[in-house]
């Protein structure tokens, strides 16, 4: 049991972080807090992917210590460099999460200009009063 905990604890931490974000998205009434929850959720996914690329042992970042003029003859030990692929994918994912957050904040500004509030229940009440 302790061995399982020590070998998988990173996933457990990210599951906890992801559930915090999901709770904020579902239970909070303020739309900005929902947006913050969405960002926490995305951060949990990004950390999960980055932790997949980790290798233990004698490992450095995936940057080769020599240029292209020399070093072709050196054999590259794959186990000596971190997995670069999750880093690349998460670079893309961070950009996409920033883009979605920006569009969501723009929509929130429009909602505030129309309703003068960002509380979800007050907005629904205003809509009901306008409908009847």
């Amino acid at each position: 049991m302790l061995e399982l905990l020590l070998s998988k604890y990173n996933y457990w931490l990210y599951v906890i972080l992801m559930m915090i974000g999901l709770y904020a998205m579902l239970a909070k009434r303020n739309l900005v807090k929902k947006l913050i929850g969405m960002n926490i959720f995305q951060t949990a996914v990004i950390l999960f992917y980055v932790s997949i690329g980790v290798k233990t042992g004698d490992v450095t970042v995936p940057i080769l210590p020599y240029g292209h003029h020399h070093g072709h003859e050196q054999a590259i030990n794959v186990a000596h460099y971190l997995n670069p692929l999750p880093h690349v994918l998460m670079l893309t994912a961070i950009v996409v999460s920033i883009a979605t957050a920006g569009v969501a904040l723009a929509v929130l500004i429009l909602i505030y200009r129309r309703y003068r509030t960002l509380e979800e229940d007050e907005i629904l009440k205003i809509n009901q009063e306008a409908g009847t």
Partner: protein, 95 residues
């Protein structure tokens, strides 16, 4: 309602934690993510792209189409923000 959401989240979280039993251990060099294409990138990056930084060579060379789509996403988000937030004179400013 809050207790229902809390129960839902505890169920979802415990299912995810149950699923991590099949995941590779933290830092395992033989994990499935590290044995398929990533050894090819690490070995061939300096020969194919002459770039010491493997992350940038994968981002801009091997997976250049991915990065092009990413710039499309940023461009679309910028256009959407511009269209949403611009002042519309005919609306008498009540938006």
């Amino acid at each position: 309602m809050k207790t229902f959401i809390l129960a839902l989240i505890i169920i979802a979280g415990s299912m995810l934690i149950y699923g991590t039993q099949d995941m590779p251990n933290w830092g395992d060099p033989q994990s499935p993510a590290s044995v398929h294409v990533s050894p090819y990138y690490i070995k061939r990056s300096i020969i194919d792209t002459e770039t010491p930084n493997i992350v940038s060579s994968v981002l801009a060379d091997y997976r250049g189409y991915d990065t092009m789509g990413e710039t499309t996403v940023i461009f679309t988000a910028a256009i959407v923000c511009f269209l949403l937030l611009r002042r519309r004179d005919e609306d008498e400013g009540d938006r």
